[in-house]
Subunit: 310 residues, 2 copies
Amino acid sequence: MTAPREVRASAPATVANLGPGFDVLGVALAGAGDVVTARATSETGVRIVRIEGDDGALPRESSRNTAGIAAERTLALAGIDSGVELELQKGLPLGSGLGSSAASAAAAAYAVNCLFGSPLRKPDLIGPCLDAEAAVSGRHADNVAAALLGGLVLVRRVDPLDVVRLPVPEGLTLAVVTPKHAVSTREARAVLPASIPLDAHVRASADLAALVGACHSGDWALLARAIGDDLVTPARASLIPGCLDVIRAALDAGALGSAISGSGPSIFALCRSPRSAAAAADAMTAAFARAGLESSTIVSTADAPGVRRL
Amino acid sequence: MTAPREVRASAPATVANLGPGFDVLGVALAGAGDVVTARATSETGVRIVRIEGDDGALPRESSRNTAGIAAERTLALAGIDSGVELELQKGLPLGSGLGSSAASAAAAAYAVNCLFGSPLRKPDLIGPCLDAEAAVSGRHADNVAAALLGGLVLVRRVDPLDVVRLPVPEGLTLAVVTPKHAVSTREARAVLPASIPLDAHVRASADLAALVGACHSGDWALLARAIGDDLVTPARASLIPGCLDVIRAALDAGALGSAISGSGPSIFALCRSPRSAAAAADAMTAAFARAGLESSTIVSTADAPGVRRL
């Protein structure tokens, strides 16, 4: 009797809503992530047999958990009717703005795909992971695409999916600071305006376009001018104690730009070097402390890898 | 006694509102433009002594004419208190969506700057030309920046001005077809929505960003997916007989994309080669004819030069 085949995969934390890229611009972070172990079983369907590191907060039913949904959709897309059981080790805190649900989905989709001989390519897994994300936090692919592909990604469209990897200027580094403070994705979506003035659209779209241009041309000054978020961060700032002070602290410490990561409460700073990012992280941590919040920090270059087999 | 010094400058037609780049993306066209002759005079101030080719439609008062305003602002910015007289030869039809007012402004600003030894660089002239444009057709710089700098330009911001030149993929060519049908810029602005749904912003900004990325990477397929305009062209289509049929004809003829040029009635098609653009132009001309409109055509690569001294 042979041991049951199993595959373990790890998917990284991600920053979505990067600056002016609401719902469309995401980046992977090195150093933290979720791990999913997938095993083929004789029963059909997907079963979650164990979750560690979530303090019991995540649903164990496969159909309500992003790892379970992504695994199911991956099997369906690949035309595999075997059964799978999943173990999920949460390395990322929930509701943190670090793409926790996306990391679980990406790790599960990739582990399941590997388990059956990788019939799908990584970009093919974005769809299954998007379906998973849609079930828990809205139909946006900027977290899952970055978690799968790594680096910096632009989601041009979700229906049909159209995702572009962007070049990352050498040295570009993120400092992401996560305070101990809960913000639900649902609440963060609720404070967004349903519509925006046409001139606000003109400014934000020009910023996003300039940011993409700056990534291609390596123009740091343009990148710094374009990275601000005047649309979403102001609307959500009141949900995060000290938010605007933390952003101000990052800029004063030399960051190119700073805004809310995902739906918060994490705040990212985009910096020209790891050294500059470390300085920004310190300043942001101190600013959160002044607002009465402890926080943790990730510093990562913007070219971190995506999901991988362990 | 020496002859009075004079400088003649020519500025090209331009397409503004290029695809998803409402108010921010412009491109220069070769082969048509306005010519301004500037002469130093002993009186202070700017005087327009002659306008040809406008059938008397343009105001002769310097303060109400974009050539006059741009000349005045250029003198002020350069700190020159000499007087100037201008002759304007209109090569571009008015109210055509070909950047007629911007071409007059750019040619005047450049001619005046040259007349006094070029104290300002071309990008410095965008501000004076923007002021001129604002007086007649709204505060947008996508026409004037393209008319001055040539090629493809992204206006990240007008206050303060921040304009980026974009790389042009080799062969990228525009067909621009102008029907005999008047659309006032004011009317065209009036039909625009004051605000747009957040998800429409997300799609349009992702298109613009992808378009800029495609220009950098030379990805024709991405460029074709991103060039559509779902925001402004649908709102303005009813102002131009046959508009959607003309766009459809361009696409059927192989254009990468097609939308209203500026505030219309001209319609542009972006194509992969001059040959493809010629085919698109023929199809668009035929479609306008079916709608009962005669039209004229410009075919130009997207890397046409900006304003120049004659």
